[in-house]
């Protein structure tokens, strides 16, 4: 059965790289010092992009578009996607989005997706800054799409839908889903393909209009010659969103208190090298949920 080309949207987020944290990673008030951390493409969103590109590989003519919400510099996420084989991208950006929690964010994203239209939405399971894993599922709820979380592999695609393997704690589950659908992809799924040399050279000057206006570089000629270098921006008005449901006013999540937890080893325990002793240690670690 022939599958018609699919329109795929990848939800991606620019996050501070919390994996390589230095001394100045936290401010005195206990919040993340974003300036001290490199801004990167959220790791599981790269797994998501790979799945989207694989769908495109197996269904010729499909289109992969990135959708990211954030400040102007988050356009880098769209460029990164273009380097790796995506067809385009949209930056959802507006001062009115500032301070949005997962509820407000998923509202904005779902509004944008309704405007853009699509058959498949692929997102990373969660972002390494908030680690909520809520945005993907909330977007699906708001759009009324079925959702498949913890995706590890898309095993089959046919005209009616897809057969998908989900990663579970103690194994995997195979599920079928119709289109349209939202997937959230687990880090155990394959890593993203590399940047493609020709795409990097082709898209490295891709800019949003806002970026173009503030940039010191003068590549006006190039932008006139190469229209594909324009990255689309969307704001509140473009997606027809209700301002009240966005930003701080649209965010019921309130941070009550932030606490610094400092791990201090109070006692040391010497474990022998015998198999039995190591086994006991493993059992202990599993029981107190340190591992497993």
């Amino acid at each position: 059965m022939l599958v018609k080309p699919l329109k795929i949207i990848v939800l991606a987020k620019q996050v501070p790289d919390t994996r390589n944290v230095g001394k100045d990673a936290m401010k005195a008030d206990g919040t993340v010092n974003r300036a001290a951390l490199e801004a990167i493409f959220n790791p599981e969103d790269l797994n998501a992009l790979e799945q989207a590109l694989r769908i495109k590989d197996s269904v010729p003519g499909s289109n992969v578009m990135l959708l990211t919400m954030g400040p102007g510099r988050a356009a880098e996420v769209v460029r990164e996607g273009l380097y790796r084989g995506a067809d385009g991208g949209v930056l959802l950006t507006d001062r009115k989005f500032a301070g949005s929690d997962t509820l407000a964010t998923s509202y904005a994203l779902s509004k944008a997706i309704s405007k853009l239209g699509c058959d498949v939405i692929v997102a990373g399971r969660q972002a390494i800054d908030g680690d909520t894993a809520q945005v993907g599922p909330q977007v699906a709820e708001k759009l009324g799409y079925p959702q498949v979380t913890y995706v590890e592999e898309i095993e089959k695609i046919n005209a009616d839908g897809m057969e998908i393997r989900r990663r579970l704690d103690n194994g995997f589950e195979r599920v079928m889903t119709p289109f349209p659908v939202l997937l959230t992809v687990h880090s155990s799924a394959p890593g993203c393909r590399p940047r493609i040399a020709k795409n990097v050279m082709k898209y490295k000057y891709a800019r949003t209009l806002t970026e173009l206006q503030v940039a010191a570089e003068d590549y006006t000629r190039m932008f006139n010659d190469r229209p594909y270098l324009k990255i689309q921006e969307m704001g509140v008005d473009d997606i027809g969103a209700d301002t009240e449901a966005l930003g701080l006013s649209g965010s019921p999540t309130k941070v009550k208190k932030i606490e610094n937890v400092v791990f201090k080893a109070k006692e040391a325990k010497v474990i022998g090298v015998e198999d039995k002793e190591i086994e006991e240690l493993i059992v202990e670690l599993i029981e107190n949920h340190t591992i497993g």
């Binding site: 393909r193 590399p194 594909y228």
Partner: protein, 572 residues
């Protein structure tokens, strides 16, 4: 994220050399493809930025994929299944990722799917990949064959084969035979114009055996064979291109090697294997293979620098971590002297590598420009000048870089002590991988045979005199003074040897003379680097002082020898 390009600032420094302006201008021919090709650069800055960004991809893949695979590739190695080569799992992954990233056929023109990169960034990519896994760098580096086809093959062959490279085709240069190693004139594989040629199909049928062929089961093979019956020397040999799809070659065995185990070294049996002639008959060895060899030697230079860098880093890491007698061993003079010397020698061969790559870049690109328009008189002279420099610097580089990389790997293992002798640390593999570099693509001894012309005909001295004319800052004058002294000594010793008018005596001392020239040249290059970037200051000082004492020792040995001494060595 490991990135083998970004974590080594020396690379960007060498990439940004002023001569790149000329090289890029020649390569991009007035940026004429900007309007017709969406990844062609707008101007010089844009082109340089492209090289930087693409090398970043190479650095990331090398650090994140190739290096982590190196150990398993070394252990697993390629396998022979039904007379076909099957790469180790890691090799397959490496190749796939690089192919997906479009990093094969980097130097090919865009019309054949390439990136149209000059040699300098391509050679830099080769250094980076080699640092990650020297064995794998052979498989990736054989894209050099594309360059040979591009330079010499007919348009028809180019159209058929070249676009396949960027899509991931692998390649092999199929030259040596059981009785034709260093002496390629003895090649016997038969593809006779009178007996084995099908004029209708314009195809030759090749028969015979090839041995020690790196990546022997590649998609595209360049094969040296005897097209002229009754001949016995190099003038009867032609170069052919064979397509694996024709399935007329059997791989009889894969060699079990000391190092670079991931790269399959094959014995190939050709049975009526259809192949197409590259360029003109009879020029196979004397022109095309010589060109192929030169780029392969530059490749081994890059590979050697990459191995040296890897070995140095492993030693540095270990020396910082290993505590003996209450402190990290890096704090002992015996250890830190070794480490510093390793680093300085790595920087010396790196600066020689990129200097040589630029010479080759300039003259090769003049060659390509001349296909489009006649060169001006001055351009012709310049092309000639750089070609002459490339001809003597390439064997010098291959000699020095490969020998240094072995010394550096040796010292690195030494710093690891007993642990280095075990399979637990990467240095054990790196040490074994280094060993081949002084042997293949012409042994060190053969590099000396090629490079000695630079001594006897004065090519090295002329270049050294030009370096002498370059400006240095006042505080570095004392280093220049040392180099000027070394040059006088080199001139005197060379004259002394040549006055004997005895070829065997010259051959006897050839390596010493070439190495003396090499020490002066690398000294000047590091001095120049230190003027442009203070980070090289210590390297210049250490290298020049060491070079001086090495040269004095050689000069002393040479001037105290006599023709009759040869007899003593001959009859041991």
């Amino acid at each position: 994220m490991e990135n083998f390009y970004r974590d080594n600032r020396d690379l960007k420094f060498h990439l940004d050399h002023p001569l790149m302006k000329k090289i890029v201008a020649l390569k991009e021919n007035n940026y004429e493809e900007y309007s017709t090709c969406d990844y062609a650069p707008l101007d010089f800055e844009d082109a340089m930025d492209n090289y930087d960004k693409i090398l970043e991809i190479v650095g990331e893949i090398s650090g994140e994929v190739i290096e982590p695979n190196a150990e398993s590739v070394d252990q697993e190695g390629p396998k022979l299944e039904n007379n076909e080569v099957k790469y180790a799992r890691g090799t397959q992954e490496n190749h796939e990722v690089l192919a997906k990233a479009g990093l094969i056929g980097m130097s090919l023109p865009r019309k054949y799917g390439g990136l149209n990169f000059p040699l300098v960034p391509y050679v830099m990519a080769a250094e980076i990949v080699s640092r990650a896994d020297a064995g794998f760098s052979n498989i990736w580096g054989l894209q050099d064959c594309a360059e040979t086809l591009h330079e010499f093959a007919s348009e028809e062959i180019k159209k058929e084969f070249l676009p396949r490279f960027n899509k991931g085709a692998t390649a092999a240069m199929v030259l040596t035979e059981p009785d034709a190693g260093s002496d390629l004139q003895a090649v016997q594989l038969k593809g006779d114009i009178s007996a084995d040629y099908d004029a209708e199909k314009d195809v030759y049928y090749l028969n015979g055996v090839k041995r020690f062929i790196t990546n022997g089961d590649a998609d595209i093979s360049l094969v040296l064979a005897r097209s002229e019956a009754g001949t016995s020397d190099g003038r009867g040999l032609s170069l052919f291109v064979y397509d694996r799809k024709d399935a007329a070659v059997k791989i009889r065995r894969i060699e079990n090697k000391l190092g670079i185990k991931g790269s399959p070294t094959c014995e190939m049996v050709f049975t009526q294997a259809p192949a197409k002639l590259v360029g003109d008959r009879k020029l196979g060895l004397i022109k095309y293979v010589m060109a192929l060899m030169n780029s392969a030697r530059l490749g081994v230079g890059a590979q050697s620098v990459g191995i040296a860098e890897a070995a140095y880093r492993e030693a540095l890491k270990y020396a910082n971590e290993r505590v003996q007698f209450g402190k990290a061993i890096i704090h002992f003079p015996a250890v830190y002297e070794m480490l510093t010397s390793m680093k300085v020698r790595t920087q010396a061969i790196r600066t020689l590598l990129y200097e040589t790559a630029r010479y080759v870049d300039v003259y090769k690109n003049y060659g390509f420009v001349s296909e489009k328009r006649p060169l001006e008189k001055e351009e012709k002279q310049e092309a000639k000048r750089y070609q002459r420099l490339a001809d003597i610097f390439t064997p010098l580089l291959k000699l020095v870089a490969s020998e240094y990389c072995n010394q550096i790997a040796y010292d690195s293992l030494q710093i690891h002590g007993g642990a280095g002798f075990m399979k637990d640390f990467p240095i054990e593999r790196i040490y074994r991988d280094a060993r081949i570099t002084t042997i293949y693509e012409g042994t060190s001894q053969l590099q000396v045979v090629a490079a000695i012309r630079g001594v006897t005909a004065g090519g090295f001295l002329n270049r050294i005199k030009e370096f002498e004319g370059e400006r240095v800052t006042p505080e570095r004058e004392y280093l220049k003074k040392i180099l000027v002294g070394m040059t006088t000594q080199y001139e005197q010793v060379t004259a002394w040897v040549l006055e004997k008018n005895d070829n065997e005596f010259t051959d006897f001392h050839a390596r010493r003379l070439v190495e003396m020239a090499g020490n002066i040249i690398m000294g000047y290059l590091l001095l120049r680097d230190s003027v442009n970037n203070e980070e090289f200051e210590k390297a210049a000082e250490i290298f020049i002082k060491r070079g001086k004492s090495e040269n004095t020792q050689k000069a002393d040995y040479i001037t105290n020898s006599e023709t009759k001494d040869l007899g003593v060595f001959r009859y041991v």
